[in-house]
Symmetry: C2
């Protein structure tokens, strides 16, 4: 599969150029407030002495790494602060391929389009393995697809775009597959604060030397533009990942890391709970409307998205454009996420107008 | 050559652990104030609405790219804002190798250690080509070394570590060599604001489709920790570089880009002139002391560094440690910069104690 990122831009540009009022359910940018402590820390940072404006340690500010290590229950040495979760995923994938253990990546289908793009850039090949109808992991299919060529198995939970939260037992079974074929397992947990099921368990609890876990603060603190993510790498892989991080980026941005460090220390659990509750309310409103519209969907267990399928209205780019023009709602065509969900449309719920959009869809398809 | 970065850490850790008072002339971090407008912009940013905290465009904030394009006299489309000049260099090198035009990089010797590290990470091989004794480009040596295997020729002017400012005619001749062997020329101009010779001319004036110019604001605004750099890529290469940038980093940090954008618009030329004058004064004081110490050196035409050679005191790691313990001055061993200057020591002048360090060296070696 080609790197599909331009489809995002294509849809967003089409929506921006539309005549009528269009509700943007394309992008995954949170629309709510960042923590107050984050704003305050930025103000404080602006007044620090010049030495505080120079390179942070390449692997990230020590206080931030310590806070991450404590919260995630891992060794400080295993934590690399990266330029967003995107860089952490890149470092993890590069490490998987650099081991001379094959050049195939197994990715779930539907897939977050950046994953096959990164794999291809790193000289690897992607094999898409369909998930269950509800988005759950199909461990048997992954086991059947795995071979000596498999260097990497990449999982994302809570999942973009399906909203699935994977069972820890299923992830454990995938790790066993990885052990059999000498692959690494990347588990991208960037939506970990948006578990609506109450059943999310981090793959870090498996304590496996095959598992690299990535996450970040883009979603949990509503700061996708700050670019603060991290990877937790097992002993045998952290050194190579640190070297690549240094050679690509030298270090991440210190104002961002400083602000996140303080926000992490000074933000109450209520902040995260409120954002999660807001999202849960939107899921309720949106799925009620999907019921009224007679659409098929899986109720998201986490993350920001709902995948929906309308009768006789496959999620092609052409139909996504019709939805923009005729209904005033912009979603992402399912074909952007691999092969398995070409009939579906992804709606991102990170807009205050999610309920309004739901009503428009219910009126249009349910009418 | 191996990636030599750990030597920096080794020297800095040794200096930090030393008993006596040690003047740090190892790191290249500016020690002066950033522009006032940069601090002010950070404060303003802290109060913006949540949408200003989300992803900037992948290639950078448009206002920042426009300001760069205008100042450098290039097309807006050719400018990619990166996570520091380091990432811009990585993108440029990756592009050179991705063309299937060979896997060799010609690097000048002495060399900035990140360059061979990046080349090696990208699967290339580095050939070090010695410069002239004064650090000037040896075009004939580069022409002799170039072959069909050469994919990249990397130059840095003003140069770290030699302080040389390359003649534009010499760079033009290197570009001709690159044309002959189908190589790209990377010209890293991150020290462009610290031209002490008055003769620096950007390689952008060559308007060559073989030349990628990189630079950034780390040095010119004294903000190495903000990670805002850029690359100017010719038509045939900018799209591939943008894709790699997006797949590795998604985007750079928006608070940093916002602050730099405003500082660029609102900072008087005097700010840059003052920093340059400060550095020139330090060069005077430091080279006077080197004269008193009977050392060989080339007076830097630009950048932050002086390479010096003391009689019967080659710049080995052991001697660098003796200098820390016995003289209280920490420099970088010449062996960290390739093969050509193993007898030399690099001193960074970005400390308010540069004059004091000079006196210590004069007392020790001149006594």
């Amino acid at each position: 599969m080609e790197y599909e990122e331009p489809k995002f831009f294509h849809v967003m540009q089409y929506a921006a150029a539309a005549d009528g009022d269009v509700i943007d359910m394309v992008s995954g940018n949170p629309d709510w407030e960042p923590p107050a402590a984050l704003r305050e820390a930025l103000r404080d940072y602006a007044d620090l002495s010049p030495d505080a404006f120079q390179y942070p340690p390449s692997e990230g500010l020590r206080e931030l790494r310590e806070a991450i290590a404590t919260r995630r229950g891992v060794d400080l040495d295993s934590v690399i602060v990266t330029n967003g979760t995107g860089e952490a995923n890149y470092l993890a994938m590069a490490r998987a391929f650099d081991r001379d253990a094959g050049d195939e990546a197994l990715l779930t289908d539907p897939v977050y389009p950046y994953y096959p793009g990164k794999v291809s850039m790193l000289g690897g090949t992607s094999t898409l393995v369909p998930t269950e109808r509800d988005g759950g992991l199909d461990v048997d299919a992954i086991a059947a697809a795995a071979s000596d060529e498999t260097a990497l198995i990449a999982l994302n939970t809570p999942n973009n775009p399906t909203g699935a939260v994977y069972d820890l037992d299923a992830i454990r079974a995938v790790v066993s597959v990885a052990e059999r074929v000498d692959a690494l397992v990347l588990v991208d947990e960037v939506y970990d604060h948006f578990d609506l099921s109450g059943e999310f368990e981090s793959a870090l609890t498996l304590d496996s030397d095959r598992v690299i876990v990535t996450s970040g603060f883009s979603k949990s603190m509503a700061i996708t533009g700050f670019r603060v993510g991290y990877g937790v790498f097992p002993d045998g892989h952290v050194s190579a990942a640190k070297t690549r991080h240094m050679l690509v980026n030298v270090a991440g941005a210190r104002p961002s890391q400083y602000a996140v460090t303080h926000a992490l220390a000074e933000t109450d659990p209520e902040y995260y709970a409120d954002a999660r509750d807001l999202l849960a309310d939107r899921v309720d409103a949106f799925t009620d409307a999907l019921d009224a519209a007679g659409a098929e969907y899986s109720r998201p267990e986490g993350a920001f998205y709902v995948l929906a399928r309308f009768d006789d209205f496959p999620g092609t780019m052409a139909n996504v454009k019709r939805l923009i023009d005729e209904v005033g709602v912009a979603g992402m065509p399912g074909e952007a996420f691999g092969h398995a969900r070409g009939d579906w449309i992804r709606f991102a719920l990170v807009t205050p107008r999610a309920t309004e959009a739901a009503e428009r869809l219910a009126d249009h398809f349910g009418g």
